[in-house]
């Protein structure tokens, strides 16, 4: 069973809420047997954080790691914490006893095993007691359970001391060193059998490694109890879907490869919440200006950065090589656009029944009862058009990097010379992240050369990139908005799209094209004009047509660039 991103978020939200601390990074979450966030237990985890010293309890749990009875210790320690946190928290939260009762009933309803291990016996008895039912236990077990059911008056140190004494006396626990056996990394913390009566089938599937059964459901130990134990060196990208630990590792990897983020984590979460929905659920976002992170880089990130620098040199060299032709193209494009703007975007006065009085029309009011003797200006000045340029930076463009960067630069420079606000991004996707690299923002008129930093990587989730660009455009004050996309119209990404319950399709070909077309349509419904400068091959023309309709043009040779793109943008300006 796979635990969905939403349920993970839900679990962590429950914990934050009970902890009243959204900075807390819970490394342990609980799900029910169906993989849904468990209401009661996640509240308890939050309550433990709120009422007790989390660092000390985390240190206690770490001391269990690698011991033979790790599972027994973990379960029984949580049982004690649950009792104590429940008694403290229920004063503030009258609904908690009901949630506990509900959980206890689920435990009680499970069939009892013939010879359950000690933790199963005690946990079952504990929750039977919570229901006020008799719990048949041996006198020894009963004494242990009594000792473990901590009262609300105990503090963290007292609870830990009593827990460890109990474990040492009754279960042969040896603190630090003795009795602990070194386990290889790959076996630690995965698939440990917990309450066997709570487990379904033959055990969790391999992808749930850090998620092992807990209580009657599953517990997700994202970093084996706390930050100190976190070891990033073994992180592999393929794990990213299943644990928060690797999520963080992947995020850092993306940052070190492609530059530090423009937004802090909170803002990024906000963006992901608004944009990564529907077909793009589970996607992550990384907005960057390509500025290197201060942290030292190693491995692939070094290679990646060096390759990007090399490519920038090649892009600039390509532009310089054809300097005369490129300058001519900029001039032609600039004058074409300027003319169009002069003729199309003047303020127009319309007659109306209120506004600026036109003396010559007053007689119409008196004799013809026509109240339209005023004029009102309809705004349409050039300052009210803003243009965003989106460069597809997926690996399918790898052989055209120099051409695409030059084309992007030509358009941006011409628009800048016309005095239009321009913003330029490139986009690509990698390991579930859609990276938006901002080369230049509206006010930065002298920074068009940053576009030469364009370099290709990974896949392209065109639909999401367009959705993001449209979202950013919607925030601008300009009345008219134009989005120009330089793309080969070949959407393709590793994260699949859920088209039905548990039916997934690759984000490529028809699915990708349909999704991108839908986003373009959505943009147009929002009064944003979208045009494409098609950079791909003949066989992809039908896809481009599907996505952009009439509004794309194909550049067969750079010498025609100014005229072709000029005509395309002119059309858009005329239609504003």
């Amino acid at each position: 069973m796979e635990i969905s991103e939403n349920e993970k978020r839900r679990a962590v939200n429950l914990i934050w809420n009970a902890a009243r601390d959204y900075d807390f990074d819970p490394d342990f979450k609980v799900y029910d047997a169906e993989g849904r966030a468990e209401l009661y237990w996640n509240c308890i985890i939050g309550a433990v954080h709120r009422h007790y010293d989390w660092d000390k309890t985390a240190a206690m749990f770490r001391s269990f790691r690698g011991t033979e009875n790790q599972l027994t210790y973990e379960n029984l320690a949580w049982l004690g914490l649950e009792n104590a946190a429940f008694l403290r928290e229920k004063r503030d939260r009258p609904a908690l006893p009901y949630l506990r009762e509900h959980f206890a009933r689920t435990v009680a309803a499970l069939p009892a095993e013939a010879e359950p291990p000690v933790q199963d016996r005690l946990v079952r008895a504990h929750f039977l007691r919570a229901l006020g039912q008799p719990a048949p236990l041996s006198p020894e077990d009963a004494a242990m359970l009594d000792a473990l059911e901590f009262g609300p008056e105990m503090d963290t140190d007292q609870m830990i001391a009593r827990t460890l004494t109990l474990f040492t006396d009754r279960l042969g626990y040896h603190p630090a060193g003795e009795g602990q056996k070194e386990e290889p990394e790959k076996e630690r913390g995965f698939f440990l059998p917990f309450f066997r009566w709570g487990r379904k089938g033959k055990g969790a599937p391999p992808e749930l490694r850090p998620v092992r059964s807990f209580g009657i459901g599953l517990g997700e130990h994202t970093d084996e109890y706390g930050g100190e134990a976190l070891d990033q060196s073994h992180i592999r990208v393929s794990f990213a879907k299943y644990t928060a630990q690797t999520d963080e590792g992947l995020r850092r990897y993306i940052v070190s490869c492609f530059g530090k983020p423009m937004y802090d984590q909170r803002q990024t979460r906000e963006l992901e919440r608004s944009y990564c929905t529907g077909n793009h659920r589970d996607c992550h976002l990384h907005f960057t200006r390509g500025e290197p992170d201060e942290l030292p880089v190693k491995g692939y990130a070094v290679v990646q950065r060096r390759a990007a620098e090399e490519q920038e040199k090649r892009n600039r060299a390509y532009y310089e090589e054809n300097l005369a032709r490129n300058r001519a193209a900029i001039d032609r494009l600039t004058s074409r656009l300027r003319n169009t703007m002069l003729t199309q975007l003047e303020t127009t006065a319309v007659k109306s029944s209120a506004g600026r009085l036109v003396g010559g029309r007053i007689w119409r009011g008196v004799y013809l009862n026509d109240n339209k003797i005023f004029e009102k200006d309809l705004r349409g000045d050039a300052g009210n058009l803003s243009v965003d340029i989106l460069l597809d930076a997926s690996t399918s463009q790898i052989h055209r990097q120099e051409i695409v960067s030059t084309q992007g630069y030509l358009i941006a420079e011409s628009l800048t010379r016309c005095g239009l606000p321009v913003r330029v991004y490139s986009f690509f996707s990698m390991s579930g992240y859609t990276v938006m690299n901002l080369f230049r923002d509206y006010g930065e008129t002298g920074d068009n050369a940053n576009i030469f930093r364009y370099v290709t990587n990974g896949c392209n989730r065109d639909g999401l990139a367009i959705r993001l660009a449209v979202g950013q455009l919607k925030k601008t004050d300009c009345e008219h908005k134009l989005l120009i996309i330089l793309s080969d119209a070949k959407p393709n990404d590793v994260l699949k799209v859920e088209t039905g319950r548990n039916i997934y399709r690759d984000y490529t070909e028809d699915t990708g094209v349909a999704d991108t077309a839908a986003e373009v349509h959505q943009a147009r419904l929002n009064d944003i004009s979208v045009v494409c400068v098609f950079t791909g091959n003949d066989e992809d023309l039908p896809a481009a047509r599907k996505i952009y309709g009439q509004d794309f043009s194909r550049i067969r040779h750079l010498s025609q660039f100014a005229d072709t793109v000029g005509a395309l943008i002119q059309n858009q300006i005329r239609n504003l």
């Binding site: 809420n17 959204y22 009258p94 608004s274 209120a354």
Partner: protein, 304 residues
Amino acid sequence: MLDFLRSEGVSPAILSEIEHYRNFYSVGDAVKSRVPSPSYDYYGREVWEQAAAALLAGENLLLVGPKATGKNVLAEGLAAAFGRPEWDISFYINTDAASLIGTDTFENGRVTLRRGPITRCAEEGGFGILDEINMAKNESLAVLHATLDFRRIIDVPGYDRISLSDATRFIATMNYGYAGTREINEALASRFMVINMPIISEDNLKKLLTRQFPTLKPEYADQFAGLFQDIRKKCDSAEISTKALDLRGLLAAIRLMRGGLPAAQALQMGIVNKCFEEFERQLVADLITVRLTGDLTTAQLFAD
């Protein structure tokens, strides 16, 4: 209203100034109906004192704060406390000079000025509530500069200049603090005294609930106030949007509970369903589930 301020502990000196102001400026019969009688009270002595002192000194006010901080409740409360007619002017992207000041129109064979709300408010000595002032373009608001600063005039080309009545004040509100909001420029901001509206505290929210619903049992007033704080924390940490952070919705839900609807259903309508995204609804529903049991009835919630 003044009794309420007294009970809130507002300084007697300020209260006597307000009384003096009320006695000094009369209200024309034609606009008497515009003097508000608020259904909600704003709690917070300090904010009341700051706001009243600024208005007494002849300043205009800008109330800045995120959603559900009581900006409009305070603005309306101030108009009520000062006993002035109120004009509510909502700002939007296409707000322009004509829609604020007025525009020429043709009536009975004559060109006349159709007076806009700002002009009316200025002439009648009213309190103008400029709601969401940051939603308008700064350039459109330049026309208000002379109105809002020491000149206190409105100059409409082709007509006499209109001087503001001495009693006229403007109170602008501005939503700020969450992503996606816009700023106003310095020229405009310098014409206001600015109050950063504090987030309503749990205690004040409890007071508000108990005043609105005198029979609500205190332990449940605690839970509803706590729930609202839970939702706010979730918004602050950007886990959910501010759609569910809806004080009006919470009050309406409690009103429905008073009328006999089970708590779960009332909160569903008043709060949960304000979120249109499925997952967000789930998160908000979880907040409610871990605070209040689903089967709460009117008899359990209210003392009578």
